[in-house]
């Protein structure tokens, strides 16, 4: 089945130690998104790629970066994780302005 896959499902990282979350898709969608969802809150858009064009939300901290080496893969890099960055990170894809297909998420714990 075509899908969005996030690895790992659970990630524990140390305070200040860089961490990378990955997302892959078999849908061949041209748009890929990263959302942050803190406990009991709504998902919040961090940034997205429309094809190769990177679009950063105005309030996304500089600590968060993203890479999209090809259509299928997208990475979320957190350069120096703080305790406040503990959250579920959701990757999603869409074809242009269509509905999002979400991965199962990566739950990040910062210790």
């Amino acid at each position: 089945d075509a899908m969005v896959i996030q690895n790992p499902r659970y990630q524990v990282t140390q305070f200040g130690k860089p961490v990378t979350l990955s997302c892959s898709q078999t849908l061949n969608h041209n748009v890929m998104y990263w959302y942050q969802q803190k406990s009991s809150q709504a998902p919040k858009l961090l940034f997205h790629y429309y094809d190769k064009d990177f679009n950063n939300e105005a309030d996304t901290p500089d600590n968060f970066q993203s890479r999209r080496p090809n259509t299928s893969f997208c990475f979320l890099d957190i350069r120096s994780p703080g305790l406040g960055d503990a959250a579920m990170y959701l990757c999603a894809t869409s074809r242009d302005r269509g509905e999002h297909t979400f991965g199962s998420g990566t739950r990040l714990t910062v210790v």
């Binding site: 969005v4 996030q6 748009v31 998104y33 959302y35 809150q41 709504a42 998902p43 919040k44 858009l45 997205h48 429309y50 094809d51 064009d53 679009n55 939300e57 579920m88 959701l90 999603a92 869409s94 242009d96 302005r97 509905e99 999002h100 297909t101 979400f102 991965g103 199962s104 998420g105 739950r107």
Partner: protein, 116 residues
């Protein structure tokens, strides 16, 4: 700025009873509207969407929603809930501003509890 309001943080419904979850949006143009469901520790699953046309849309798992432009609402309904419907429900609006795609703005969610 676009916004989505889900006025009910928690709703408790008896199994077999009907359900309506409310959603109001603030958006300057014709919105794309969505309802997603999220089980604990999982990603979001699309229940249904409205882009244009018939204002009553059918979704998966027996859900439907009605778009009412005059009320800026997109309420989710189900005639008879099942225990497996217990989850978090999010209403979302496309942030489209004229470019290719701009992501979604989500409401704060409604936590649905099913009583036996």
């Amino acid at each position: 700025a676009q916004s989505v309001t889900q006025p009910d943080i928690h709703i408790t419904v008896s199994e077999g009873a009907s359900l309506e979850l409310r959603c109001n949006y603030s958006y300057g143009a014709t919105p794309y509207l969505f309802w997603y469901v999220q089980s604990p520790g999982q990603g979001l699953q699309l229940l249904l969407k409205y882009f244009s046309g018939d204002t009553l849309v059918q979704g998966i798992k027996g859900f439907e929603a009605e778009f009412k432009r005059s009320q800026s609402s997109f309420n989710l309904r189900k005639p008879s809930v099942h225990w497996s419907d217990a989850a978090e429900y999010f209403c979302a609006v496309d942030l489209y501003s004229g470019g290719g795609a701009d992501g979604l703005t989500f409401g704060k969610g409604t936590h649905l509890i099913i009583q036996p």
